[in-house]
């Protein structure tokens, strides 16, 4: 394992220290907790809290700031944060208009955020929550826990955050977040696995000729392991799955996010994007806005995901609204 770290037990904490030392103008750490909150707490608005395991940087602390999140709760690497941490975040960011929790659809995340919500409600704080589940690689059926929440979560942060910034009620912010979730779809692919520092070795093995299609953001298995293909063919496969689920029609408008998994250079992400845009153009689907970069990583995995979000007038306006965070500015 080759990493810029000190001791494996201190990775999460030292990373948090590094973030706060780098960006004190954006984020402040709650003393004694693994919680980042906006340095310039905004009053008179619904607050938004998100989180999950660490290892997805810049998610979620990188999206704390004007127009996105008010608080981020990073757990241990790939492990959901505990309710007391989330509860502390909720208390810190609440400005009297309630707190929306944006949770990715994993059993652990859901239960821990739910317990935090119960604690907060017991203290009289209004809490609502949404569960993101954009990963089309996993079937959403009676026999699964449903689709995983992956990179599309960032667009929920962006749009719900913009809605909150308008002074909307928690019910309105909640409804907008649900609208994003209903319209956002993602699928990913990995070329090389990631290494959890404490594990010291990759979470799974891929030969030099293999890729894993439909990978999750913790390296969970996907739909297929295949011989590695050309970028365009990989995109064809992923887009096929996304479009089958999303069913956009000519004239629809979408936002596109090409997300890097941590060890994929921009060069490759742009080559993927090229084919994504070609396919959408062929289908007559209009691209309103494109984001390319590392938004929701899987530590040092070499891989990428494609996210499409179908837009209406409200989502378009909110997508372009001002955002000023460490890793997302608009």
């Amino acid at each position: 394992m080759k990493k810029f770290i000190n001791d494996v037990e201190n990775v999460e904490n030292e990373m948090l220290e590094g973030i706060v030392l780098a960006h004190p103008e954006y984020v402040t750490r709650l003393p004694g907790f693994d919680v980042l909150v906006r340095t310039d707490k905004k009053v008179g608005k619904v607050a938004i809290v998100s989180g999950g395991g660490s290892g997805h940087e810049p998610a979620h602390g990188g999206f704390v700031g004007k127009g996105m999140l008010d608080g981020a709760v990073p757990g241990a690497i790939f492990t959901s944060p505990t309710p007391d941490q989330v509860f502390e975040a909720i208390k810190a960011v609440d400005a009297g208009k309630g707190v929306l929790l944006v949770v990715k659809n994993y059993t652990g995340d859901i239960m821990n955020f739910e317990m935090a919500a119960e604690l907060a409600e017991a203290e009289g704080i209004k809490v609502a929550n949404v569960v993101t589940n954009d990963d089309v690689a996993v079937e959403d059926s009676l026999y699964t826990t449903g689709r995983r929440g992956v990179a599309g979560t960032i667009l929920v942060h962006k749009i719900a955050g913009a809605k909150a910034e308008t002074g909307a009620s928690i019910e309105e912010v909640h409804a907008t977040a649900e609208k994003v979730i209903a319209n956002v779809r993602t699928m990913g692919v990995a070329l090389k696995p990631c290494t959890v520092p404490a594990a010291g070795k990759p979470g799974f093995e891929l030969s030099d000729e293999e890729m894993e299609l439909g990978i999750g953001i913790h390296g969970e298995p996907g739909t297929e392991r295949k011989p590695i293909q050309k970028a365009d063919e990989i995109v064809n496969y992923l887009m096929d799955r996304i479009l089958k689920d999303m069913k956009p029609v000519a004239g629809d408008e979408v936002a596109v996010m090409i997300n890097g998994a941590g060890a994929t250079p921009p060069m490759e992400l742009y080559i993927l994007n090229r084919r994504v845009q070609q396919i959408l153009a062929e289908k007559g689907v209009k691209v309103f806005k494109t984001f390319v970069g590392d938004f929701m990583t899987s530590i040092d995995m070499a891989g990428a995901s494609i996210t499409l979000l179908k837009l209406d007038a409200e989502l378009k306006e909110l997508l372009l609204a001002e955002a000023d965070t460490i890793a997302f500015k608009m």
Binding site: G53, G75, A76, F78, T79, S80, P81, T82, P83, D84, Q85, Y106, T107, G108, M111, N112, E114, M115, V138, E139, Y143, T144, T145, R148, A198, A199, G203, G216, H218, E220, P221
Partner: protein, 212 residues
């Protein structure tokens, strides 16, 4: 009758088992989950064992609640809220007790499993903690109703728990991370069901030690 000392002993024994089986549970989770169940449980019970010395003068209900809160705030993941809720709920039903009757023990288990069901929204047969816990409790209740001692009943409970663990190898996971695997989860034993079987093993050993 189970004394406070026996309850504390049970918690200590279970904590030791989580340390001892840390790698085994993690390996089971590596196969169908994200490979951290043993790490998670061990982290939680290490925190519990640091807390135990401060709980000596508390009632049993407060002890169990404190264990549950500690698990909730140190384990994370799926098992933290589940085990944490189970201990907290068990504490709630034993309000003010300094000793437990057999019926109290059964009530505590039933409240615990109720907490897990409530929190995890799972039912038996989904390849989870419940698949060893529910049969174990049923076996204990049956044994006690047949007039056996709690030690004998816990022996039957542990046996049923391990049968439940075996059963998890034969079914598809439909809850938790293992559900992403679909069919591919068959053949593997569930880590959470396994850690729960060790809980009944710990309870049995604590009861045996007290010689009743």
């Amino acid at each position: 009758m189970a004394t406070k000392a026996e309850v504390l002993d049970f918690i200590r024994i279970y904590g030791d088992k989580m340390a001892e089986h840390r790698q085994e549970l993690t390996d089971f989770d590596q196969a169908i989950g994200d490979g951290d169940h043993g790490i998670n449980m061990n982290r939680g019970f290490k925190a519990v064992s640091e807390k135990l010395p401060t709980l000596g003068d508390k009632n049993i209900d407060d002890i169990l609640k404190a264990v549950g809160m500690t698990l909730v705030s140190t384990v994370g993941g799926a098992s933290g809220p589940l085990y944490g809720t189970a201990f907290m709920k068990a504490g709630t039903v034993l309000k003010g007790k300094e000793e437990l009757s057999d019926q109290d023990v059964i009530s505590a288990f039933e409240e615990g499993v109720g907490g897990i069901k409530f929190r995890g929204k799972a039912v038996q047969g989904e390849k989870t903690i419940l698949d060893s816990m529910i049969p174990a409790i049923d076996a204990i209740k049956k044994s006690i109703s047949e007039g056996n001692s709690m030690t004998v009943a816990l022996e039957a409970g542990e046996k049923a728990a391990w049968e439940g663990v075996e059963y998890t190898k034969t079914i598809i996971a439909t809850k938790g991370r293992a559900s992403y695997l679909g069919e591919r989860s068959i053949g593997h034993q569930d880590p959470g069901a396994t850690s729960m079987a060790y809980l009944f093993q710990a309870a049995k050993e604590a009861a045996k030690k007290s010689g009743k």
